[in-house]
Symmetry: C2
Subunit: 416 residues, 2 copies
């Protein structure tokens, strides 16, 4: 376990170049992470890149960033592309864990999807690496496994110097997500004992002002039009149902060790205030930004420092107006269901996030209507989340498969 | 000079009770400070209280807080009231400095008015005390004298531990003012090298939407109706002319060591966002609160900790909407004049704040019209601020008298 103090890590002066492994380099977050890494060659050494099947883009990224090692999920395709001379090709089912735990890696960026991403996250933390994660399962399904490791790493630093930026679990498990990055940024320099509540903002999605009748007949094309962020299909549908915000409530619970009752959700259609923290003295701190994922990605890489970024700053005068209102859990029940799953515990949360994958896929393929998404989520939480102990990593992977199988192949929620 | 590290001061655990001298205990800020101190008897020991002439209230406060010593500007009145047995009465022209530099005082709260308040501020900092100041002259007129002392105190701590909360000049010279407290709160845990600009918000005052013709005929009664804050007459008129915001720009320059070009002013009629900081990566942090001075007062006393406060937290959902727009320096020229004074240097800033006292008094007594306020400010800056070195404390006191005499007794700006 590496437990260098802030000063040994270069705190207070020029920090040493961080040696980075990027898992999932060819997806949306991965590609933007490559941009951030390439913009700061003095700050980062890219040691390893891993991707799923896009061998061409991986080779292009390798040519640009010159990693020591690469891995491709589709190993056959890896033989094909031209990699820079001397680049090591890592294969096998545990390739991600191998890259994440290399001696020459300090920071692992997890931009891969699915509950299987928990394996490299856990391996990296056990090896004393910093993990920056964009993978929602890390905390929604695995919060109970991941956070004790991050807290142990922080506690070891705090024992020497409680003021060290690495004395916080957030220094070890860093969120890449605009809302949680916002809360993290509001918390730097503050004590968690001073926090009264966390306030997650939500755009409210495209159906914020729709009637229940209109919501009942929403089409995939309508749901894919997000008002403020340009994102992938899954997360756009999750924003429309507010399931995304529900998952973020669960993430916040684990990441910041805050009770569910102290996590508020506020609808903020302009998506300029990314989230906020209310303190015990009545003060509220908010982080604002333009909708550009390069900002939270970069903050997760440069913490505790900040560096110039191509992300445009928010212009309060041009924006002119920021609105806030309460979420309507009647029209958007996914938020309530997620809170209930969080209260039930890790099995329920893991069932919820697996079920949401199935539900969104089935909505997009036309086999489930829009109100069927929260109905399926609630059914999954009730069926899989009520009984049983908190699963370990093998249990989580098994549960994930079980939930997907249960709802993908039955007649649940079929259009009538 | 006391330069205990954060840990020696109790950082990371329960901080020791801070021993406090409150100068100006019977004014608006002083009375609210007494409330804050009385609410946290475990955190503060009130060693000394000083007031101007309100002997009755001072005696009442002494009975409640049991200070070891009290001083009253009007020494004759001090003999009268019943003080608790054993309370020392301090007199003489240097009574405030005597109280501020006592060995048994750690933190001096300066809630007195006028440039003369710089004397106890400078004496306290030279004695290694923490100063929390609500006195605008401290930075507008005396920034060049005060900040080097605060920076030296911070540097001595930083030499041992750059992560110590006392390694920041703001730990030694603490602003009691909602805007500067907001910026300070946004800066904790951040490096000043990461700051791109400071954003001071302004309510815009009661004439935000008035035409130049309407502004020309504003009466004192109209100007005294502040839309969001309940404050004294002087500061309410300063809000109506935006002179107050101009003075805050100068304070920000000294307090945060930021160029004038990197200090923005944004009109925000709801006064919920108290101010904000834009960072080099495009992130913006804002502090929000209800208009309650007990919040910035308490933060200045409890930093780096926070404690429960009777200040109601802001309710984003109830507020529903926050608006922002650019200030109009055409209708509100005091903002431009203050920036120019800041650029000219300490003589000009000191002339500006002295002139503003005269201008507001003359507006309230009917001998100057509303547009005459910025005209008088500009004349004072041009006449006293262009030539000459940065004054020392005696020079500042002399300049203050000179400016007041020049504009109070001439026919400048008389109503025509």
């Amino acid at each position: 376990m590496s437990s260098l103090s802030f000063t040994e890590r270069g705190g207070g002066g020029q920090p040493p170049a961080r040696r980075v492994a990027l898992l999932g380099s060819t997806g949306s977050i991965g590609r933007q992470t490559v941009e951030v890494l390439a913009a700061h060659p003095d700050a980062f050494t890219v040691v390893a890149l891993a991707a799923g099947s896009n061998a061409g883009l991986l080779a292009e990224q390798a040519g640009r960033l010159r990693p020591r090692a690469v891995a491709l999920g589709d190993e056959a395709a890896l033989a094909g592309p031209d990699l820079p001379t001397g680049t090591e090709r890592v294969g096998g089912s545990d390739a991600l864990e191998t890259l994440a735990t290399r001696d020459d890696v300090d920071l692992v960026i997890v931009a891969t999807s699915g509950v299987v991403s928990l394996r490299p996250v856990l391996a990296a933390l056990r090896a004393g690496k910093v993990v920056a994660t964009a993978n929602k399962e890390t905390l929604v399904a695995g919060g109970h496994l991941v956070m004790p490791l991050a807290r142990d790493l922080a506690a070891a630093v705090a024992a020497t110097d409680p003021g060290d930026p690495y004395a916080s679990p957030l220094a070890w498990l860093r969120p890449i997500d605009s809302e949680h990055s916002a809360i993290w940024q509001c918390l730097v320099g503050e004590s968690m004992t001073a926090v009264a509540s966390l306030i997650l903002t939500a755009s409210g999605g495209p159906f914020l002002d729709s009637t229940p009748e209109e919501i009942a007949t929403v089409t995939p094309a309508q749901a894919l039009r997000h008002p403020t962020w340009s994102m992938g299909a899954k997360i756009t549908i999750d924003s429309a149902t507010l399931a995304n915000k529900g998952l973020e409530v669960i993430e916040a619970h684990w990441l910041y060790d805050v009770d569910y009752d102290a996590i508020e959700v506020v609808i903020h259609p302009q998506s300029v205030v990314h989230s906020a923290v209310r303190f015990v003295d009545g003060s509220l701190k908010a982080q604002l930004g333009t909708p550009d994922m390069r900002l939270p990605i970069q903050y997760a890489l440069t913490y505790p420092d900040r560096r110039p970024s191509p992300a445009a700053p928010p212009d309060l005068i041009a924006t002119s107006r920021l609105d806030f209102r309460a979420p309507d859990e009647g029209r958007f029940p996914a938020l309530r269901i997620a809170r209930e799953a969080g209260h039930l515990g890790p099995r329920a949360s893991a069932a919820l996030i697996a079920a949401d994958e199935v539900a969104v896929a089935r909505f997009l393929d036309g086999s489930l209507d829009f109100p069927g998404i929260p109905r399926l989520l609630e059914a999954a939480v009730e069926r899989f989340g009520v009984a049983g102990d908190a699963p370990d990593i093998d249990g989580l992977v098994a549960l994930d498969l079980e939930v997907r199988a249960a709802f993908a192949t039955t007649a649940f929620g079929a259009r009538t």
